[in-house]
């Protein structure tokens, strides 16, 4: 009881301090400095309609490479923490009929929707990270519904590594052609898709990079699910 009271007093102090600090910040007003430059030039410089994806992939592509690395390290860390000599799924109960039938029906469409999200990243809200997460939910559904299901490990690990190398490779091709890492050579040098901005075949290398990121995030999150769901079996 005493602890709860102390916690509430602390919360009041922190809340007052936050409210006081944020009262000076104007909400809902135009205070863009760099953002307006990005919005003005995004179509000419990157060919993307969605300014957020252009910022993530083109203007801050190196940052996104670091982000993918953080996700990879987290996936490796989960694998290292939960490493067991003999691992197996220990689920006792089969999924109910609703779950199994629903999974059989929905898995292809969930995967299709994830693919749609990351291929259309330069046109609609979304991109590689949400698309990959959506694909991982399809594997989670399979794990929940079928007690004997397992992802194909070898293929998944190789795909993950290849996707990571593909991102660096796209950046290095840009370095060779345009002179700096992650140079958008498809848009800047080839002028590919200049006349149909706002359609699928435009946006420079954003669809390529987001496809790579989508595959990588999907396989990594599926690997995390796999690592968490298995338990050690004693022989």
């Amino acid at each position: 009881m005493m602890k709860r009271l102390l916690a509430i007093i602390l919360l009041l102090i922190v809340g007052y301090w936050l409210a006081q600090g944020l009262a000076g910040v104007p909400f809902g007003q135009d205070k863009m400095l760099v953002g307006q430059y990005y919005l003005d030039n995004v179509k000419q410089q990157t060919g993307a309609v969605n300014a957020v994806t252009a910022v993530v992939v083109n203007y801050r592509g190196f940052d996104t490479l670091g982000e993918v690395t953080v996700l990879f390290i987290a996936s490796t860390g989960v694998g290292a923490l939960l490493w067991k000599r003999k691992k197996k799924r220990s689920a006792k109960t089969e999924g109910s009929i609703v779950l199994t039938t629903g999974t059989r029906l929905l898995v292809p469409f969930v995967m299709l929707f994830g693919t749609y999200i990351f291929i259309h990243g330069h046109l609609t809200p979304g991109g590689g990270f949400p698309g990959g997460a959506t694909i991982a939910t399809a594997f989670l559904l399979l794990y929940l519904a079928f007690i004997t299901y397992e992802i194909p490990h070898r293929g998944f690990e190789k795909t993950e590594g290849l996707a990571g190398m593909g991102y660096v490779l796209v950046g290095l091709i840009g370095l060779a052609i345009g002179g700096y890492f992650l140079f958008d050579w498809i848009w800047q040098t080839w002028n590919f898709g200049t006349e149909n901005v706002g359609r699928l075949l435009s946006g420079g290398f954003i669809p390529i990079i987001y496809t790579i990121i989508g595959i990588k995030v999907g396989t990594e999150l599926s690997g995390i699910i796999d690592g968490m769901i298995k338990e050690e079996v004693s022989e």
């Binding site: 916690a7 909400f27 300014a51 993530v56 390290i73 987290a74």
Partner: protein, 114 residues
């Protein structure tokens, strides 16, 4: 003009902080941490919002002068991904703790055992 997002973000941060301070179950503490993170993300997004403008996707009728700031949204996208990564790490540590001690109550696992 103080918007509703301002109160929403502060409320979420405080709810998460309360869970971290008071709750004894490790999973509930992690849930509190996630709620706090959501509050911070909401705050960043709402600072970038410009009233009366639409999402920064330039289509018909939405020019560069009718869109909100794209940079906070891009940064929050990064923050969400990092949040997922740290949550996954924390959950796997919690799983190891449960395997070793058989409980998730932090009062019972306070002392490290060899």
């Amino acid at each position: 003009m103080i918007s509703v997002y301002y109160f929403g973000a502060i409320a979420l941060v405080l709810i998460g902080l309360y869970a971290i301070l008071v709750k004894k179950n490790l999973l509930k503490i992690l849930i509190g941490l996630s709620i706090m993170e959501t509050g911070v993300n909401l705050l960043l997004i709402s600072i970038g919002y410009v009233s009366g403008r639409s999402a920064p996707i330039l289509s018909e009728g939405i020019g560069p002068s009718q869109a909100v700031d794209p940079i906070p949204q891009a940064l929050v996208l990064t923050a969400i991904v990092i949040g997922v990564a740290t949550t996954a790490m924390a959950l796997s540590v919690a799983m190891l703790i449960y395997e070793k001690y058989g409980t998730l109550n932090i009062e019972e696992i306070r002392r490290l055992r060899g």
